[in-house]
Every structure is written in structure tokens, then in C-alpha cells.
């Protein structure tokens, strides 16, 4: 009985391994992250070269974006450390 099951499994594996996979040439992540960040890149260029432009306000803008990124990443690490107390 077990040899029959083994034979059937072997046959199925042979069929499965002969199937060609559906692998898209570009991982979807590149596309998705590209679409998400492309508008942000446009924004940063517009902030740097658009008019009217004041150096102080451009600094405030990029400074605030940087602070938010740091806060976001810091919150992830901070929360991990805080909740790590329970383990």
C-alpha cells in the first residue's frame, strides 16, 4: 500500500516539477515602491526648484519631513523595546 502511495506521490512530483513557473521578469515590489515614491520625488524637486522660494521655508519643509521619518522609524524601534519587557 505504502509503495503505491509513494509511487503516486513520485508521479505527482514529476508532473509538478515539469510545469514551468510563472515568474514575472520584474519583482512586483520594485513597481509598487516605485509608484509610491515617484510622487514624493516630484514633490522634493518641486520644493527645491519651484518659485516663490525662501531658503528658510525650504529648510523647514525638509526638516519636518526628516523629523517625521525619524519619528516613524524611532516609534517602531521604541515600541519593540518597550514591548520587549514582557518577553
Amino acid at each position: 500500500m505504502s509503495s503505491v502511495i509513494l509511487g503516486l506521490t513520485q508521479a505527482l512530483m514529476n508532473v509538478a516539477s515539469s510545469e514551468s513557473g510563472h515568474v514575472a521578469p520584474l519583482p512586483l515590489g520594485y513597481l509598487v515602491v516605485g509608484i509610491i515614491w515617484a510622487p514624493a520625488v516630484v514633490l522634493f524637486i518641486a520644493a527645491l526648484v519651484g518659485k516663490p522660494r525662501q531658503a528658510k521655508i525650504t529648510t523647514v519643509f525638509f526638516g519636518f519631513v526628516a523629523i517625521m521619518v525619524i519619528v516613524f522609524i524611532g516609534a517602531v524601534f521604541g515600541l519593540s523595546a518597550l514591548l520587549g519587557i514582557f518577553y
Binding site: 510622487p39 514633490l43 522660494r53 519643509f61 515600541l79
Partner: protein, 409 residues
Amino acid sequence: MHTSREFFPFIGLLAVISGVAIYGYVLQLTQGLGVTGLNDVTIWGIYIVNFIFFIGISHAGIAISATVRLMKLHRYHKIARIAELLTIVSLAMAGLSIVIDLGRPDRSYLLVTQYLKRFKFSPLTWDITAVGTYLTLSATYLYLTLRQDFKLLSERFTGLRGKFYGMLIPLYEVGEKATIDRLSFWLSVTILPIMVMVHTTVAWIFALLGSRPLWFTAFAGPYYIVAAVASGLGSVVVIAAVMRRIYHWEDIIEPMVFKGLANISMLTTLIYIYMMMAEQIGALYAGPEAEFLVSYEWIFGSFSGLFWGMTTLGLILPFAFLLWQAFKPGYVHIEGSAVACTILVIAFWFKRYMIIVPTLSIGIQQVGIYAPSWVEIAIMLGAFAIPILMYAIITKIVPLIELEEEETH
């Protein structure tokens, strides 16, 4: 920023609910996910429902603000900030909902340290990217548009309060408004496509799982976005109506603002009902066996009470009221619109429950029974109390209506 006597008991009630939720979460941390109703089959429950729900609500804020700015819809400008704050608070809660759902939340940092390895293939990583970018740019947008008001407040108040507002506007320059307007315009242009991507990536967390019936569908992105717009705008109607009454802003927020928002919420609800019908007909009459089983349970089986209650009382009834109102020229019932939108928002929470739970509990093994435990329910109530608490406190610091607008009335 007037504070009524009722404010403090209200804050106290929210704090108590939040406290019970924190106690429940500590129990979950110390005893594990065994204290929840989750099991080996139904691995996601109301925490993930909350996550999708809060992401949906977050769409309203900056969407309104950006659209108002780009299309010059000045009438809606007065509720823009109410909506922007809603976006920030609900995005924060969406992120926390994910952490709450984790069995080992202390390993959350792996999302950052493993990012470069994972982003090529992991929808969860795309979601973190989209939500993080959206939150960063939304907060930047809100801050830049607040600077002018912080300047006015720093001059209006003396002492510590004045100094506090002064600290919030580093590098302030007279005449910076023109530059800020330009940056806000570009932020609006940028945020709208990112907002679409946020809910599309949320949808892909589910829709790229080929083995899960009713999740694996090409129109998951649009389906989720429509629900987000309907529930998000509905939430803004509710909050704006409450704020209008509390702060006596009858002269500032025109009744027609409510009608406009309610109309869009009504139309998107109609589109959503249509999409839901298309989905269910496909699954019930031509779907593979697993899809048929889940769809059957939705419509005729163990989830039918929830499904029909949600559809008729939660979606169709408020839709009918808002449609009737839409066809009466010049007429708007603000309280009625707020009640209808509240029902819509609650219905969309249950709709998210219908997306998650039946597919997991019936979809593959047909053995998973899920009922949320008291710990989950307490944490869920806290997940609603905490953002309301945050919102209520922020309204005491940040002017909800631009001061220029307020002073002209």
C-alpha cells in the same frame, strides 16, 4: 478652543475605556494570543478589521483638503483641517492595530532591519512604505498649513502658552505664506496618488493570496478604495456635525457642505453595493467550490444575519435617506445626515469583518470557529476610545478652523 463642563467627564470616560483596553493588552502580552478568539484556522480577527477600517477612514482627510486646494472648492475649506486631523489620528491607530495583532510585537523592528530583503515580494512591506509615506507627507501638509495660525496664537497669548506656540514655528519669516501655498499645492498633487496606493497595497495583502476565496480578485484595489472614500467622508460628516454643534460654528460651516460630502458618500456607497453584488454573483453562480462555500455562508449560512443586517440596515437604509435628501434642492438635514453617515461607517466596519472572518474560518478547512474574546472586544473599544481621546486633546491645541476664516465671522 472653548472648553465646556461636559468635556472633562467625556475625557474621563474615554480614559477609563482606554485603561481597560491597556489592561487587556497587557494580558495578551503576558499570556499570549491564546486569550483572544483567534486560532490556527482563523488567524486574523477584529484587530485586522480595525486596521483596514482605520486605513479607510484616513483617506478622507487629506483627500478632502487636497481636492479643495486643487479644484478651488472654497466652501469645503472650512472643514479641511477637521478632516486632516482625522487622517493623522486614524493612520496612527491603523499602525497600532497591526502591532496589537502580532504575537511577538517586540520583533516589530524587523520591518525596518529586514526592509531591503523583503520589499521585493512582501505586500506588508509595501503597505508599511505607503502608510509611512502617506503619514509623513500628511503631517507635513498639516504642519505647514498650521504655521500661520501658530504665529497668530503666539501673538494672541502671553506667558507659557504664547511661548509654546512660538516654539512651534522655527525659522518663521514674514511673507512666508506664498511659499507655503506653493509647497501645499505640490503636497496636494503628491498625496492624492499616494493615498490611492495606500489602500491598494492594503487590498493586495489579501488579494495576492491566491488560495483564499473571495480575496483573490483583480478589482480588490478599487473595491477597497470605494469603501474607504464612503466611510472616510461619512466620518468627516459626523465629526464636523458634532464640532459645529459643540463650538456653535453654524455661521462658519454652511449646511450645504454636509450635503456635498454626504452626496459623495452616498454615491460611493451605491458603487460599493454594486461591486459587492457583482462579487457575490460571480462567486455564487460561477465561482470555484471554495468561493461558492464562502459566498453561500455569507448569503444563506451562518453569516447571513450579519450580511443582510449590514447590507439592508447599514448600507441601503442610510443610502436611501441620503438619496432622498440629494433630490430635494436646497434642503439638508444635518443631524439626519450625521446619523445616516454614522450608520454607514459602522456598516463598513462590519463589512471589513465579513471580508476577513468568513474567508478564514470557512474558506479552506471549514472548521475554524471565531468569536472575539472579551480581551479583543476591550482592546477594540480602546482602539476607538484612544483616537477620540487624541482628537479631543489635539482640538485644544490646534485650531480646527483656520483663524482667518474664524475671525471673518
